[in-house]
Every structure is written in structure tokens, then in C-alpha cells.
Symmetry: D2
Subunit: 383 residues, 4 copies
């Protein structure tokens, strides 16, 4: 039965085909679930109230499909999306599964592999555009090393830049209107992946031919794997106008890529994140890039997907409550005055001439323990 | 007795006053070593063959010193530097020790603290300029949070930008000629520090008023704490023209800040780093931001500092040997042809029309195990 | 005003003198709070409803105190405890602060240091016994290495065993009635600490002269620093009859020792822990070995301590609710039959002769996503 | 051509069938290498000078094989071993690949799964015994959780104990002469695996019916994943008489299970390990539980395997050199006197009466920086 935490289209919840369709294989174990055909995945997403579905090229079209097969598959998929009221906001390309990419795609030492990766991406862009996507994600899962003997890492950066510049031009040329969203990850499946953090991509974007066409797609698990504060990475991207897309899931730090249900590993971090996205008015998709435990059948997968959305909506409600809490707001009131800090000779002289009461400024308790405890009590629903 | 690993001035080895002067206090234990006066530290650095000495303002001048005391101290210090043939290539500011900074300096919620931090930095720049430094490092050790309740992280980014813009203007105004080097760290002493990685700062620099005046100061330990590949961060910075300074030390991942002797925790990573710096012709200081174990007396501190430099020089020799190794070089020879990847309609059509032998490209062994094992044997001196 | 989450003595909440008395010094910053005298700490603990206070010898008695000073301090402290209705359930010894222990106490290479550590511990036991403590914690904070060159680690194990055996004999001899609780930590303040995990101590205890006198004192932060599941460590200790004491706090994995307010970093892990302790009927102290952020004054410290207890009590209530939830309980009902697994030739033959429907057993969905989502909703108070 | 680092049978180097036979599939990518038949793997191991080959039941015999197929396979395999001069020192059982084990084997909530796991292990023991193995490894790769909602962890410990007790009885009954070696891992493929560390198993063994039949099989990567000092775990096991087997490979901390070539990630840690095993006279197999990068073909796999053994032998030579280095040995000479620490009233009184020169003991430099730098120079071959 619907309640306050039932998803609606305006919530912009999306799932990748590879998430609800994940079959549960891992490095030590075999598949545990039957395949879920893309059109069945779309039906499931429609049923549970999701707004969008995302895909890699080969989630939908097999790598060996003929053009005719490809066209038939795409036609059927579009019909299914329409039938179930599901849109395709984002598309991406799989540059990691096939053995040809075992040592990278855009950064491979083999120029043929680099060219093939470009071609494959262009076709994935054709596919995405045909399905109506306006966001194109690039995750360079194999762009990395197990030994830094294999190439100088600055060479890898140059190769990556060439590729992204090329693809921007292709989008402009074809009038696809894509904004690219670069997705960072520190390691796995490579020993180390180049462009390990969202920050690294923000630095990289500034060196591109068309920085205005390119932003980032931060993923909770990818920053948390390295023990980094995901909110801080998202906020930096947002503040720079570069938050194009976001991958929501969960992850314990310092481990293999877990892709857990959103909020299930660190619900407080998830709370700050939801609060931030809602407070700043982020208008893009809320994409759940997660998958169900291997213990689940298809019914369990559905519960998993529902849980991602419910937890987001519960946390959104808690964020509103936090913002409306009088004691919390009073603790937040900023101290000091906001003197202008634009440089000028006059300001310089005034600033250099000031005397500060260092001990006095240091003495004041900031009541952050109270503030954080109140947050916990809002979060736990006892306030 | 001098050998092939004895440092020379052209090696540009520098140490912070706070490194050889570290007294060994830690969160669970008291100081273990007597203080080392700055002029004695300079004498020690001269004796062991270091080229430069770096300092925070308060490493040399107490925070409460009168202008007269300050001037006397600086005069004596300059004389000591000259006497011992040691230069001051870099200066920085301590915005973390005093309790006034317990919740940040440039990003504090208290406008008075932010102003005081600016003033203190301007005076530290005066000091650095007087000592001849042309690099000014900013490490925001307290710019962070234990609870994200305290401020929105995008506000912190804005405050940080205001401060760096202001300081750039001050340097221009005073004609100090500083290049700023921003130093990232993921956590400690704060629960999370803003601008957690070198990449985050590369992204931030692109949003400044004077990006050309600002680069980064990556530190081995700070990236390795988060389990990140330090070489990759350094290479990205170098490729973007932003490698202004570097902090060499060592660190086991996923731990408190250890600041171990260079090369002593992960000598293979140190090898790739030295090789990169030498291969690309990095001409800046090689700064050892490390300190001796608490088990050491002053003699042990000297051995520690000597060890940092010796290991660098040993690894530099190994890097030359690696570059000259015929088998290694033959394994590195790149496959494929380097077809141009500038976008054009013609290139687009040619690329889209190519047929790739995916299976053939995937089949070829890349011999990276052999390459890495040869590296190990070069490193271990058995080749 | 008291509510359902107001602590009572029967909750057995205790704090170390060093927790509420923490002055906020860290490796990069100075003290931020005035000292809190032990008798004032006891008053504060009484005021906020704590049941017990724990201490290291030197938290109460300075290392250089004369016997007369020591006796006066102890007398006053006992009076304060009585006055404020606070008991001393546990005592311990500081073998890490003084420089004499910079390379270990019981495992030092210096036999004099080892002897001094024993003597100091015996006197701390005298003190603890006098104050009524029946639990004696041993945390070997300096028993470790930065370089494994310094001693063979099996030698360290032998030295540690000698010490614990000796101290057991001393307790028996003096009829102190102590149960020892060994506390593990993986690193910090040493590069690596011997006996890195609670499990390591469980293995060690089995090799002692009096294993029945010795158990463990697991600490949330110490297992979580290494990214380990704290609940699993506690459960193994409990199941083996070795859970003597517990240190409650919180910690993000892969970082410096944070000692955060209980439940504030990973509230779901805290929930499972509280549920376990309550479900199994753990009757020992709930000791909060945490400290307030450096942003706090003494009022903030009080809020911090209150928050530890409130969160425990909130989670205890949530655990009861979880146990009483009909849907959760129905999902938990165990499948299969519990056939006896005591070995016998007859059972062996019967087992070897069975045919299992492997595919059938593999097919069943276990509904753990639903179960975990229900847990989240109980925890967040929306169920 | 053979050199000082060419393996000989007395070095007792072994590889699992699953190591050289690894086909390179990972969570994000497909297989990259053709299958290597067990008898071909044995031939390869013989060719490169390995002494032994280990196996899981299903590495050799498919899970669905008929008894006749099984017997034929085993006969052929024994012949191949004999032909190539390779022994089978260790056998184990695969309780993780088949979906039936998706929620554990011995600790599953389903009694049928638990029984099937026992039966499968008994048959794997039959197989191992037939092949001449005297060590039986148990790695409970699926004994764990993604959510602790699914079972109480003390229940898991009890179930695990029942299973190991049963299997000990089976070995005794069948007169197989097995020593069991329990292998810990903190996580992956489960969110958390029970018995996360070697220490946890040492504690568990003490609670078994036949502790004398059971020891541990520590794996480099499994302790290093959690950032723990592997040497310390091995030393504790050795000192307790429980080091039955060892898995050599390498791993960066805080990541997915990498199983890199021995010594290739942290060669200094590998050095201390080899030195310890050789110094104490460990006489068991040196098993390399690693696999080649995905970039490799079968020739690369061979280089990988050769590299594991070469690096071990290089480090063994370096360890001898370290032991023979006069300066190192002089730095190691122990300070203080070894006074007896057996408890007695007389010793007690003497100890309590001693006066220690705390400051004097604290003042002495221990020269560990020098000692560690000398170690680096021995390791790097410049001494």
C-alpha cells in the first residue's frame, strides 16, 4: 500500500539495467539468478515506481549483434519503456567486460584497442541518443594498472584527454546534445585505476577542449572504498557546476566494490547526502547503481530496488525535519561578522592592522556534539 | 665516508624545521626528545648534505613574539642558513596548532577566525619572502569536520576560494613572486578534511582568479593514507603543469599519519615515484616531510634524515638501470600504430568504418608479469 | 527532563576519567580545554546519570607522587565517588605515556623496562583493588613496532605471556579477585601493535597459566580501524565466555583512532551490537571509551557523554522493537531440519548416503534484502 | 639458465591448481585465458621446478562427476604427478562456488546445506587422502553476512565448531592423519566473513574437541586486506605450534582480494616474512596462492609462477646476509639484563622494592632508524 515513502516520477529515481539485472556472480562464485531480459527489467521498474532506466550499450545490444538485430532490440525496448512509463535519462558504454579491454580502452598501449574503444563509444552514443538520453557517462573501469611498469601515467592522461575531446566533438557534430559525466573509482577491477577520485576528474575537465560539456558522475561506493567523504566530493562538484549525474549505493570503506542498497551501510552519510542534494536543488536523476545480495531471488531484487527508493524518501523527510528544528537552527547560527574579503590595498591595511583576541576566539564551545546528537535523534526518529 | 649515495646540493633535498625538530609527541605519549633550536637544525642539515630548509611561521617565530623578537630571530636564522650553505626554498603557515583554529581557519564559521587566518598567512608570506622562499605551501589541516552538521561543504569551498584569491593578490601586490602549492589530505587531524586529494585541489585551482599562480604540493603519506596510488596523482599534476613542490615520506595505507622515512614502507611505490620525477625532469625541491621514530635520540634523527636522502639516491640509480635494461625496454615497445585521433568528419567516417579483430587483439599476452618481476630484480639489486 | 532514554544505574554505564577529562590535544594541535580534576569528573558523571568511573593509575595519581600524596588523592577520590554515587568497576595501567615505554613495556628489549612495567602494573592493581574494581584491563599500546628489525615477534609473544602470567599470580596472591581484560588494537601509536585483534588475544589466552582469569575488552574503534566487523569479534568472545568488559565508541574505518561518541559514525553497527549485548544478557559494564570533539568546552563534553548513553538506550529500545516485529520474525524462521551432527559411524554412513537436491536448495530466495530494509525502517523509526 | 634463485624440491614450493589455472574472470570482466587442464598444470609446475600441487575437490573432479569419472580423473592425475615429480601436500574443499553455498556452508541457516557441506568435505578428504595429502585446509569463504540480521554470530561460531569437530572425528575414524589448517579472511566474497583473522581462528581452535589436530593457514593477502601486519599473525601462530600451512601472495591494504605475485606489492613485508620462516625453521610447504594478471597468456602465467619462487629465494638470500651483517647484529644486542620473571613471593618483594631510573631508561636512543635503513640497503642490494 502506498505511503509517504512511495516513489513518484518527479523523484527522478532511475536504475541501470545491470543493477536489477545483476545475476550475482562474484570472483568466488557462480551466477545465482536467471537472466532478466531488458524489457522485463523495464516492466519491473515501472511496477515499483521508478522513473528512469539507464544502460550500457551491451546491457541491451549484444556486442556481436548484427545491425538488424540491434535495430529490432532497440525498437522493442523503446516500446517497453513507453508501455511502462519509464524514460532513459542516461546511457553509457561498456569498455571493461570484453578481454580486448584487459589493459585499458582509451589508455591502452595498443592503438588499435584505443581506436576500437572510440568506435564502440560512438555507437553507444548513437544508441543513447536514439533512446532519448542526454547524459552520457564514461567510467574507465580498465584504465589503470597492476604494475606501473606498463606505461607512464602522464601518457595515460594524455590519451584519455584525446578520447574525451574526440567524443565531445562527435556529440557536437551529431547534435546529440550530450553532457558527459566522468565517473571515478580508485581501484577494482584494476590494481589502481587512473583518475581515482571525483576530484581528479574535476582537475582533468579543466584541461579539455570543451569543459562546458563535461561534468562528473560521483558514486557513493567509489569514494567510500577509499574512505573518502562522499558528500565533500559531491559538494565540490556541485559548487563548480559539474554535478551532472550521481550514482547512489552504499559501501563499507576499504573493501571490494559492494554496491549495497542505498543507505544500508552508512545511513548517516546517506542522510547528509540526501539533505545536500535536496537543499541545493539538484535536479538530475537519482540513479541507484547497486545490486541485490546473492541470497535473493527476483522477488528479493524487487525488494532491494524498493528499499533504495524508500530509504531516500525517508531521509528526505528527515532532512526537512532537521531544517525545521528550532534548536538545531539556533545552534547553527554563525558567529562573527562576515567582513568582505575582496583584496584591496585598503582592506589589506585594515586587516594587517587588526588585533585579534586569539584566546577569546579559542575559548568558545561550538556545541557540535549537541548538534550531532540532535542529528542522530532526528535520524532515528525519536525527536 | 662519501659514496655514490651521498647527497649534493644539485639534488635539491630539503627538510622542514618541523621534521628534524620533531620531538616525538603522539596522541598517547609525551615528548621524547629535547628541542632542537632552528639554528641547530640548520647546522645539522648542512652537516648531512641537505640543500634546503622549509618552515612554518611558528617553527621559527613564536606566535606571541614581538616584532623586535621576530626580527632578531630572523636575522640569526638567515645568518645560520648562510653559514651552513642551506637555502629556504619554501615557506608555509601554521593554521592548525593554536586552539583558535580548532574548527578551521579559512573555512571557520567564525568570520574573525577567517580574518585572523588571512592576517597570519600574510605575515608568514612576509617572512617567507624575506628568507628568499618562492614557493608558499598551504595545508589546511583544520579545514574540515567531525560532523557535517556544522556547515554545508560548498560553503567551505567558497570560503577557501576567497582566501586563496586574496593571498594571490597579496603576493602580486607585494611583488613576492610566490607560487602557491596547495596540499591535500583526506583526514587527521579532522574527521574529514575538505579537499581530500591532490585531484580535488587540481579541480579547485581551475576556479581561482589566478590559476597560473597556484599548483599543488602532493605528499606521499596523504594519498597513501587513503590507499591511493601516489604516482598517479603526481603524474596528473605534472601533466597539468601544476607540480610545484612535493612532500616525500612514507606511510602504510588506512592508518594514522605516519610520516615514515622515505621509501621505508613501500619501496616499490617510492621507486616508481623517483623514476617519474627524474624521467620527466622535475626541477623543484625534493622535500622530506617525515620524522624519526620515537625510539630515536638526536643521533637517530640524523640517521633518519640521511636515510631519506640515501634511499632517494639509490632509487634514482635503480631507475637509470631500469631505463637502460634492454629486455625491459623490448617488453615496453608499444604495439599497434598511433593513428591520429583529432576529430574530423573524415576521421570519424574512417573510424566508424573500421573492422576490428577483437578476438585477435584480446589474445596477445602483454608480458607484464615478466616486466614487473624484472623491475623487482632491478630494485633488489640482483640484475 | 527525564525521558525514556535517561540513564539509570542498572544500565551500568561507565566512563574513563581520561574520556570526559580529555583535553583535546592531537598530533597537530594543542590542548583546547582546561583540566578536569578527577573529583570534578566524578561529580559530572554523577550528575549526568553514569554508574561507574574507570581509570588508569596516572589518571588519578601522578607518576611521581609520593606514597603520602597518593594516599591522600585516593582517599579524596573514594569520598567523591561515594558522594556522587559512582562506583569504580574497572582499573587499568598506563604503560604508554611516559617515554620510558617508547619501545614497549612488557615486550621492550630492555629488561629493566619490562620489570618497571610489571612493578607499575602491580601498583595499579593495588590501586584498583583499593577502589573496589574487579576488572583489570591491559592495553599494550606501545607493545609493537615501526620496524620489525627490532625484535622477532614470537619473542614479543613470549614476553607478553610471562607478564600476564606474573600478574595473574600477583592477583591470586593478594586475593584481589581480578579478572583481566586484554584489549587489542591494530596500530597507533605504534606502526603495528602486537595482538592486533580481539581474536589474537583469544588465541593468546589459551596459552596462559590461568586462562580462566583472563578475558578480553574489545573496543569498537579498535576493530573498526582495521575495517573488521566488531559484532563478530564480540560474539566470538562472548561465546567463548571471555567477554569481560567492552569499550563503546565509534570510528570510521581505515583512519587514525577517532574515539567518537557512541553510534555517531556507524549507527547500524552500533544497533547490532546493542541488540547482541541485550539479547545474550551481557551483565558487565557498558564503558564509553570516547572523547568529545576539540570544538567543545566542558558543557559540550557533558553533552557528548549524555549522547553516548542516550544513543545506547535508543538503540536498546529499537532492538526490542525489532525482536517483537512479526514480519521480521517470520522472515527469520530457520529452514531445514536440525539433524544432529555429533559424529558416529552410523551418522557418518547416513550422511554419506544422502542425496541432496543442490539446485533446489540453491533456488530459494532468502529475503535478506527485505529483512535488512525492515531493520533500517525500525532503526529510522518509521515502522 | 639456472642461477642461485632456481627452485629445488627441498624449497617446498607449491601452487594450487586454481592459481596457475586461473582464467582471469573478475567482477567486471570475462575470462581471458583458455582452460589449463589439471594434468597440464602439473606438467607446467614440474617444468618450472615446483615441488607440490594443491587442489580443491572441484579443481580436479567436477561437482557432477559420476564415481567412475571421478576415479578415472584421479588415476590420471596421480600418474601425471608421478611423471612430473610433483607431490600433493595439501587438499581442500570448495564450499563457495556453487549457489547452494550463497549464504554459507557450515554456518548456513539451512540444515540441509550444512549437511551437504559436511558430506562434500568428507569426500574431499577422501580425495586428498588418496592423493597423499596430510594437510587439509578449510577456508570458509561464504561463512559470513551482508546483513547481521540473518543470524546471531555466536550461532555461527557454534555451527562452525560442530562441523570442525565432526571432520576431525572423520579423519581419525578413517585414519587419514590429516592436520587441519583453518584459513581466515575478513571479507570478500561476503560483506563480512566470520573468523576474520588468523587470531580469531587461534582463539576458536582452543574450543575444539581436538585442538591438537587443528592449526591455521594464514594468507598474506587476507591479513593485509585489513591492513594488519601479516608477520605478527604468522609469528603468533608459530609460537603457539599452530603454523600448519601458509599462503604466499601479495596485496595492497584496503582493497579487493588481489592475490598478486609474491613480494610484488610490499617487498619489505615479504622480506620479514621469509626471514622469519627461515629463521625459525618452518618445515611446511611454501604455497603460492596467487594468480597472474589478466594481461597474461599462458607464457605469462609461467613467468608469474617463476617470479613467485625467485623472489622468495632472493629474499631468503637477503635474510642470510642480514643475519650475517656485523653492524646490524651489534645494533640488535639486547640491553638490560634478563631477570627471571617467574612469580614468587620473594621475586614479588624484590620487584616491588626496586627503584628504576625512569628518565635514564627513557633517554637512550635505540638506533632503529639506522637499523631499518641498513635493512633497506641490504634489501636493495647496495650493502
Amino acid at each position: 500500500m502506498p505511503d509517504a515513502y512511495t516513489p513518484r516520477p518527479e523523484d527522478k529515481f532511475s536504475f541501470g539495467l545491470w543493477t536489477v539485472g545483476n545475476r550475482g556472480r562474484d570472483p568466488f562464485g557462480d551466477i545465482v539468478r536467471d537472466p532478466l531480459a531488458p524489457i522485463d527489467a523495464v516492466a519491473m521498474l515501472g511496477e515499483i515506481g521508478a522513473w528512469g532506466v539507464n544502460l550500457h550499450d551491451n546491457d541491451l545490444v549484444p556486442i556481436d549483434a548484427t545491425p538488424a538485430e540491434r535495430d529490432r532490440i532497440v525498437t522493442e525496448f523503446k516500446a517497453a519503456c513507453q508501455r511502462h512509463g519509464v524514460v532513459v535519462p542516461m546511457a553509457t558504454v561498456n569498455l571493461f567486460f570484453d578481454p580486448v579491454f584487459r589493459d585499458g580502452a582509451f589508455t591502452s598501449n595498443d592503438a588499435n584497442v584505443r581506436s576500437y574503444a572510440l568506435q564502440k563509444t560512438m555507437r553507444a552514443m548513437d544508441l543513447g541518443a536514439e533512446l532519448g538520453a542526454r547524459i552520457f557517462v564514461l567510467w574507465g573501469g580498465r584504465e589503470g594498472t597492476e604494475t606501473d611498469a606498463c606505461r607512464r601515467p602522464d601518457v595515460a592522461v594524455k590519451r584519455l584527454r584525446e578520447a574525451v575531446n574526440y567524443l565531445c566533438d562527435y556529440s557536437l557534430d551529431r547534435k546529440y546534445g550530450f553532457t558527459f559525466a566522468l565517473e571515478a573509482k580508485p581501484n577494482e577491477p584494476r590494481g589502481d585505476i587512473y583518475m581515482a577520485t571525483t576530484g581528479a576528474y574535476l582537475g582533468f575537465i579543466a584541461t579539455l577542449d570543451h569543459p562546458e560539456m563535461v561534468g562528473v558522475n560521483p558514486e557513493v561506493a567509489h569514494e567510500q572504498m577509499a574512505g573518502l567523504n562522499f558528500l565533500h566530493a559531491v559538494a565540490q562538484a556541485w559548487e563548480a557546476g559539474k554535478l551532472v549525474h550521481i550514482d547512489l549505493n552504499d559501501q563499507a570503506p576499504g573493501r571490494y566494490d559492494q554496491d549495497f542498497r542505498f543507505g544500508s551501510a552508512n545511513v548517516k552519510a546517506a542522510f547528509w547526502l540526501v539533505k545536500f542534494l535536496e537543499d541545493v536543488g539538484y535536479a538530475g536523476p537519482r540513479h541507484f547503481d547497486a545490486h541485490a545480495y546473492r541470497t535473493e531471488d527476483h522477488e528479493g531484487v524487487k525488494e532491494f530496488a524498493r528499499g533504495c527508493m524508500r530509504t531516500y524518501l525517508i531521509l528526505r523527510e528527515r532532512a526537512k525535519q532537521w531544517n525545521a528544528d528550532a534548536e538545531i537552527q539556533s545552534l547553527l547560527a554563525e558567529s562573527g561578522t562576515n567582513d568582505p574579503t575582496r583584496y584591496s590595498p585598503a582592506h589589506r591595511d585594515q586587516l594587517l592592522g587588526r588585533q585579534f583576541d586569539r584566546a577569546g576566539l579559542a575559548r568558545k564551545g561550538l556545541a557540535y556534539e549537541r548538534l550531532d546528537q540532535l542529528t542522530m535523534e532526528v535520524l532515528l526518529g525519536v525527536r
